[in-house]
């Protein structure tokens, strides 16, 4: 029996008449509004979404995207993507569609494969919603129901449900962040596929990759990484890019390590909080059964531990949000930046090869025109990529610094808040106990 997770909200499906987006995009400058898109259609508030990663979005009224609802089903999650836009190419000013994870991936991949976007950092795809661990735990709980008391069972069930909900919120947030990043990017927001994604209210019929395609992907990746190594060896003339390359390589590895270690640390923290929960229950039983004056004592301590354990759980959850998620996100972003540098290096190598070919053609005086055109193309491509890449990387740094700042400050503030809360609980309990002995 697979435990079906709590359905957070039933999505409201908007049935817009099918529209065909016209390819005329308005090119408008955008204001710097710093509005975090958070519109809710007037139904009951689904949940307060933790803003996992603030990417300092500069959205404006012309295009605001968010995920207003989400529905968790047996093995998939249905996101309701809500758009508010004043752009002329959309039929309505406000509309929603239901999308699944695979469709997000399809969108991301279409960006990656698009040559036009070679010079941009493609916002990293959101990770697949993974409820397996949580579902397993719920199932185990169901099986072990007979071996624990009713109170224990309800308590553990509540906890696991809370955990499930937390994971759920996180995955919604990550999908949302992806869309917001795309919407905030001056070029990507105009992408046709993106508009189709936002507006087309039928199923995009995007199937997940079958085995053959996955194998192709695998080979592509192998080739790419081998190529990447070759290309990375090419020393760049431009100091800026040379520096960025070394920096990103090292940074990416260290973020990966930090992210893994932070996950382990937080997991230990959660385990300790769980133990305190069990201790509180045991103390409660002791308190109700004891015949001496210890019974009052035990009950008070049990109460205290119940409260402190909730605080500890929240500390672990906040650390997860502000630290772990931050690191994970920048792991993916730094990979995307690395990919950009790779594409640029690739185009540089192509350019240099075209130059050599041109020289050869000139010396042999054969196919010169062809070689010239091809060289022109390569040159143009390279310069285009270089130019946009430079800006992208600078933006990346700004975004990164801002995100870290925000999250570290919030982390410290939350740690302080919880520690002070804990302290107060402990001190009041101690005070009570010392006066009553």
């Amino acid at each position: 029996m697979v435990y079906v997770g709590p359905a957070v909200i039933l999505g409201v499906l908007w049935t817009c008449p099918p529209s065909h987006p016209s390819p005329t995009y308005g090119i408008k400058g955008y204001k710097t509004d710093n509005v975090n898109s958070r519109a809710l259609i007037g139904q009951k508030k689904c949940f307060s979404r933790p803003r996992a990663v603030n990417v300092d979005l500069q959205t404006d009224a012309t295009l605001q995207v968010d995920i207003s609802d989400a529905l968790s089903e047996r093995d998939k999650v249905k996101f309701t993507v809500h758009t508010k836009s004043s752009l002329p190419n959309f039929k309505l000013n406000e509309f929603s569609v239901v999308r699944q994870h695979e469709e997000f991936i399809w969108l991301h991949d279409s960006f990656v494969e698009n040559e036009e976007y070679a010079g941009y950092i493609i916002p990293p795809a959101p990770p697949r919603p993974d409820f397996d661990a949580s579902r397993e735990k719920l199932q185990k709980l169901g099986e072990g129901e007979g071996s624990m008391t009713k109170e224990e069972f309800t308590k553990m069930k509540q906890e696991l449900e809370a955990e499930y909900l937390a994971i759920f919120k996180k995955t919604v947030a990550m999908h949302e962040v992806f869309l917001c990043r795309v919407a905030a990017h001056p070029v990507l927001r105009k992408d046709l596929n993106f508009h189709v994604f936002l507006e087309y209210n039928q199923d995009l019929s995007v199937r997940g990759k079958n085995k053959k395609e996955k194998l192709e992907d695998f080979f592509k990746n192998v080739v790419k990484s081998a190529d990447g190594v070759l290309v990375a060896g090419v020393k760049d003339v431009d100091d800026f890019f040379e520096h960025e390359k070394t920096f990103l390589l090292e940074y990416h590895n260290r973020v990966k390590d930090a992210s893994a270690k932070s996950d382990r640390m937080i997991r230990s923290h959660k385990n300790a909080a769980d133990d305190i929960n069990r201790i509180a229950s045991s103390l409660y039983t002791l308190g109700t059964q004891d015949t001496t004056e210890l019974c009052k004592f035990f009950l008070k301590v049990s109460e205290l531990f119940e409260k402190t354990r909730k605080v500890e759980s929240r500390v672990a959850a906040d650390e997860d949000l502000k630290l772990s998620d931050l690191l994970k996100y920048y792991l993916r972003e730094s990979q995307a930046a690395k990919d950009l540098l790779y594409r640029r290096s690739r185009s540089l190598v192509d350019y240099e090869n075209a130059n050599k070919a041109l020289d050869k053609a000139r010396s042999k005086n054969r196919d010169v025109l062809q070689a010239e055109t091809s060289q022109q193309i390569c040159c143009h491509k390279f310069e285009k990529i270089s130019e946009s890449a430079k800006q992208e990387l600078i933006d990346f740094k700004t975004r990164r610094v801002a995100a870290f700042r925000k999250n570290l400050v919030e982390l410290a503030e939350l740690e302080l808040k919880h520690a002070k809360g804990n302290l107060q609980l402990l001190q009041s309990c101690l005070g009570f106990m010392k006066t009553n002995t």
């Binding site: 260290r254 270690k261 932070s262 305190i276 069990r278 059964q289 210890l294 004592f297 410290a412 804990n422």
Partner: protein, 499 residues
Amino acid sequence: MADTDREDEELFTEPSGTQSQPASLSTEDVSANTNGPNQDALFDDDPEDLFAEATEEVSLDSPERDILLSDGPSPAITPITPPTSVIAPRIGHTHDDMFTHSSFDEIEEEEVDDSFDINISVSDPEKVGDGMNAYMAYKVTTKTSMSLFKQREFSVKRRFSDFLGLHSKLASKYLHVGYIVPPAPEKSIVGMTKVKVGKEDQSSNEFVEKRRSALERYLMRTVKHHILLKDPDVLQFLESSELPRAVSTQALSSAGLLRMVNKAADAVNKMTIKMNESDAWFEEKQQHFESLDVQLRKLHISVESLVCHRKELSVNTAQFAKSAAMLGNSEDHTALSRALSQLAEVEEKMDQLHQDQANADFYLFSELLGDYVRLLAAVKGVFDHRIKTWQKWQDSQILLQKKREAEAKLQFTNKSDKLQQAKDEIKDEIEEMEGRVQQDERDFEQISRTIRKEVGRFEKERVKDFKTSIIKYLESLVLTQQQLIKYWEAFLPEAKAIS
């Protein structure tokens, strides 16, 4: 001063004693021979005289002395009747039999007058010897103002088997009459082997510290018991610099094997004895202790798990700190880089904090629970002894009945020649049995009384113990949170300074 001291100090009774003691043991003779001439020296406050005593102590290993202090190889062999005669001379001249009701009350009054002021610490573990014969010697320091002791502050060196020896002696003397004797810390072959082999690493240090703390708690619990405190074995343990080696505590000695056999026999007996409980109090208490045992075990497991996870957390935090530092190094934005390094420092401090908290979790909470689980086993043992005593009484009653039946049968035989002799024999036997039955009944009542008092004392101790320990534990938690606040408050401006 000398006279009053002498009255209290059983070990060194005045040779010219006027008391009439049971003939079996001649303590006075022993003391006269060895201690008489030097008694004045003993009451000197000169600490050097500790060693002056030592020479006396060594000579106290005369055979008579041995009987006094150690009751043979195995505590579990038979309920020993010698205690009545062994202990009596020690408590004081005025008491003939410690176990008469009146003397018992007098002892308690004594206890109330003599305020309990004794503090024992176990410290300075030192490795003595090498290889497999090596052992840890611990310094046992006693600080007291009680007149029971010759000095206010003194210390001796003891090894683990000495503690076990002390416990086995006390158990053999007191457990079967209903006193809850605190159990000694458990042996650990693995732990000790590591120490012997000479591994100077974290885990063997932890093991030694665990053991040291356990030994300290054990001694404090023992002396808190007003009867045990006055026991000469305990006094000798605390005071004399040389102690005969307790070989019978070794697991694989003949004594050890005998113990194991007896334990098994006891277990079988327990299952077959069905007692008619006339006193509901005992049944109620037994049930109470049983459920307490179950609950404490459960709690203990949870606390041990907490200790484990907190240690894990500490390790993982340290690793994350290193990782964050590396990340800070590779970050090329200066302010962010600095902030990340600061974060790494905070996490490092947290690692130490978690480590300290895990230790507090262990020593203040987990070990308390472990001690009480073991104590409850001793309590159960005492209740079981009561049942055995009852069984003994029942058995002698049955035997008496049989003898009476045999006597009655004799009345109806016709053999006249042996009749009178047989009748006389039977009459004597019956008389003896009647005496035995009475004694057994008295024993049973005595042990029941003792257990009632002991349970009262135990519960009082338990309440005090738990309250003190848990309050200390909560204080440790408070300290941790205060430190946390300090660290994060120091970090916050650094994080805000990122621009």
